[in-house]
Amino acid sequence: MSTGSESRTDTELLREIRREPGSPGALAAGSELFGRYRLKTYQWCFRVVRDHDTALDLAQDALLSAWRGLAGFDERSQFSSWLFAIVRNRCLTAVRKRVNVRDESVDPDDLLADGRDPLDVLADRQEEGAVLEAIRDDLEPLEQEALWLRAVERMPVDEITRVLRIRSASGARGVLQSARRKLKARFGSRREGM
């Protein structure tokens, strides 16, 4: 990736960093490369945690870890996707520590017999494979993606609307409502008095 026709690509900058580690050229290349992504990193963290200080801490942690861990970067990948994987994992770790707050827009009729949100039931499953199996069979592709982002990655609902580019007026909220109803049918019905 390059930010301009005359600037070096990410790959070229990485090679400069690795050619002579610690040299002025390598440090300049490192500054340029990480400079391209530091605001993107912060903004991604902000959109997940919605707090400036927390986002800043997460972004700093991710960027410094990436610099220290450049040995782990395989040049067959894109630097942006490698960095994004680090950033995303830091954010996921942070949000999973939070107490899961009930989504206030959930229709009580969409909850299970025991009052639980089907999305929480899904999120509690320890194997990603089990989660994928549960959602693949019964849900539309967009519902699957929205549900994955909400239940597993705890992304805010309006952020899911933006990430998935959902154009309908109800956005991700409507998609998730549809997904909940289908999951409820799979996990059990409230009216059946389980």
């Binding site: 530091r38 990193t41 801490d57 972004a59 610099w67 782990g72 490698w82 994928l132 580019r165």
Partner: protein
């Protein structure tokens, strides 16, 4: 939550998808996790957030992150620079500079100095840790220098140069995407044996790993190493 089988490596997925690799395209079509990841990567590059941080927050973040990266890049070691010490674990230990200083004639003076140092150290450690230290505003101690791992029969020994003042070390094993493989392992001495029968979940013998050391004194972090490579025994 453990990862499912069959999904391409997260860090490689967007590039392989954009390249149109047939098997990746086919997989993504049936995998909501990977489709969601690709959508997120695109959103990450598009740099849009809502509610967006304010211009003041953006400017503050940009400045803080630039400063933190500058400190890390210029104050510590360069990445990938596993210090190529010719030493191995089999070599006899070098005479340390502090051993030479503690000659008998100098010991009374050092005793008095030690009292002053301990008093100062107690004051320093009892001060509340400022949030700014988390942001890296504090002066960095010496970087932890890792040594080349030594492979044995079913075991790999990780070692590093001892850090002055440290009373213990945390060693964290990382996957190549820098995700942590299990909890940090705490040791008092600057070495750790990685045994084949005690590898973290999901790690197989022969897999490429990264490892990173944090030197500590009590609960306080002194310094870090850069991530170095090793191969799982």
């Amino acid at each position: 939550m453990t990862r499912s089988q069959g999904c391409p490596a997260e860090s490689a997925l967007p590039a392989r998808f954009d390249a149109g690799e047939p098997e990746v395209l086919a997989h993504v079509q049936g995998c909501p996790r990977c489709r969601a990841l690709i959508a997120q990567h695109r959103a990450f590059l598009e740099n849009e957030a809502n509610p967006a941080p304010t211009p003041a927050q953006l400017a503050a973040a940009d400045a803080a992150l630039a400063a933190a990266l500058e400190r890390e890049m210029s104050g510590g070691r360069a990445p990938q620079q596993v210090t190529a010490s010719p030493r191995s674990l089999a070599d006899p230990p070098r005479a340390s500079w502090w051993q030479a200083l503690f000659a008998p004639a100098l010991r009374p003076a050092w005793g008095f100095a030690a009292v002053l140092v301990v008093a100062g150290g107690l004051y320093a450690t009892l001060r509340p840790v400022e949030r700014a230290e988390v942001r890296g505003d504090a002066t960095q101690a010496e970087v932890v220098t890792t040594l080349a791992p030594v492979a044995g029969d079913g075991v790999v020994t990780l070692a590093w140069e001892p850090v002055a003042g440290a009373d213990g070390y945390d060693v964290v094993l990382l996957a190549t995407d820098l995700s942590e493989l299990g909890a940090p392992l705490h040791v008092r001495e600057p070495r750790l044996e990685l045994r084949r029968d005690a590898l973290p979940a999901g790690v197989t013998s022969g897999a490429k790993l990264l490892w990173q050391v944090t030197a500590r004194i009590g609960e306080r972090e002194l310094s870090h190493s850069v991530a170095a490579e090793c191969v799982a025994p």
